[in-house]
């Protein structure tokens, strides 16, 4: 497993400089790491759409933002993604934990767990999955695509990849 400290460093090294989101246990340590770093800002959001809204404002003020959330939060921010980010071309990287992957999770995660990737296909947001070997390359690729295409992008993070 990769360490959250190293994962955070990859995000910062690639150029992301504003962080907000809503916790999930899978990214609990990552959020603690981001919160504790004196050189960057992590804003705790009350809901995932508020996080995407704050990130969009941050982008217009010169930042390249990352939003962290659980896949349940995709439902909360769907309207903001479709009627703000996608039509104004306001980019952000969404790091989304994939609860309910392959049906192995608590009942509340199962529907979104089998549909979250298809949901993104339907609304037209590109997405990729982190694995043990591609963290650096995916983060760097995402920064290039997010800043060049000026659209949101999702990187899914399953349990057991970062600690």
């Amino acid at each position: 497993m990769s360490k959250s400290e190293d994962f955070a460093q990859e995000l910062i090294d690639s150029g992301y400089d504003f962080f907000t989101g809503v916790p999930c246990t899978i990214i609990g340590n990552l959020i603690t790491t981001l919160t504790d770093r004196p050189d960057i800002t992590y804003i705790p959001a009350v809901r995932e759409d508020a996080a995407v809204g704050v990130a969009s404002g941050a982008y217009m003020a010169g930042k390249i933002p990352v939003v962290l959330m659980q896949n349940s939060g995709l439902g909360q921010c769907l309207n903001t993604l479709t009627s703000l980010n996608l039509i104004y071309k306001l980019p952000c990287l969404l790091i989304v934990t994939w609860r309910g992957f392959e049906g192995k999770d608590a009942p509340e995660h199962l529907v979104m767990g089998r549909t979250c990737n298809k949901l993104l296909d339907t609304i037209g947001i590109p997405h990729h999955n982190f694995n043990h070997d591609n963290i650096k390359s995916l983060v760097n690729m995402s920064y290039k695509l997010v800043t060049e295409n000026r659209e949101p992008m999702v990187l899914f993070l399953k349990k057991g990849i970062i600690e």
Binding site: R47, D49, G53, A61, K63, T80, L84, I87
Partner: protein, 186 residues
């Protein structure tokens, strides 16, 4: 005071301040009354004006940022108040035009006739909270908030119904709105 008068009064006082306008009639009226590069017009994402404005304010501390929204927008994203209150950006002025209805969809009632939005803002740690009902008071409080640092919340009670009239839509497309606004943030 109706909301067109309120928007006219507010926009006449502006210089280079950044304004995030909520979707619906507020964006359309502001665009029609005084279109400026510094205006970001939301056309969708109802509720997000306060979050977008907060994100701008946190990252442009040298500029005054104004959120201009209605009671319906604020009620849809009430969590934005404690978020701003926890962070205390000193350059944020949050103006709520409160007519107690969803005016953009034909004046269906909200719940701000019985819920005191200014009290919620106080509890959420806004430091300068005012409620105004007249044009004169609105002008005085906007001038004060623009000239002083602090996290300000200005509730503007809109008592008069708007006369029915055709109001145009924002003619800039969303990408143009964003590009113009970003050029004004530099």
């Amino acid at each position: 005071m109706n909301y067109r008068e309120a928007i006219t009064t507010i926009t006449e006082l502006l210089d280079d301040q950044l304004v995030v306008c909520a979707n619906g009639l507020i964006s359309r009226e502001t665009f029609t009354i005084r279109d400026r590069l510094e205006n970001f017009y939301m056309i969708g994402s109802m509720g997000m004006a306060s979050s977008i404005g907060l994100g701008v304010a946190l990252n442009k501390p040298s500029k005054k940022v104004i959120i201009l929204e209605g009671d319906g927008n604020l009620l849809m994203n009430l969590g934005s108040l404690p978020m701003a209150g926890s962070l205390q950006p000193g350059n944020l002025l949050h103006i709520v035009l409160d007519n107690e209805v969803y005016a953009s969809t034909g004046n269906q009632p909200t719940i701000s006739n019985v819920v005191k939005l200014e009290e919620i803002a106080k509890s959420a740690r806004y430091t300068n909270v005012k409620k105004v009902t007249t044009n004169e008071d609105l002008k005085r409080e906007v001038v004060y908030a623009l000239e002083n640092d602090g996290l300000s919340f200005l509730l503007v009670k809109i008592a008069d119904k708007e006369e029915q009239r055709e109001i145009g839509r924002v003619t800039h497309n969303p990408e143009q709105i964003k590009e113009r606004f970003m050029s004004a943030t530099d």
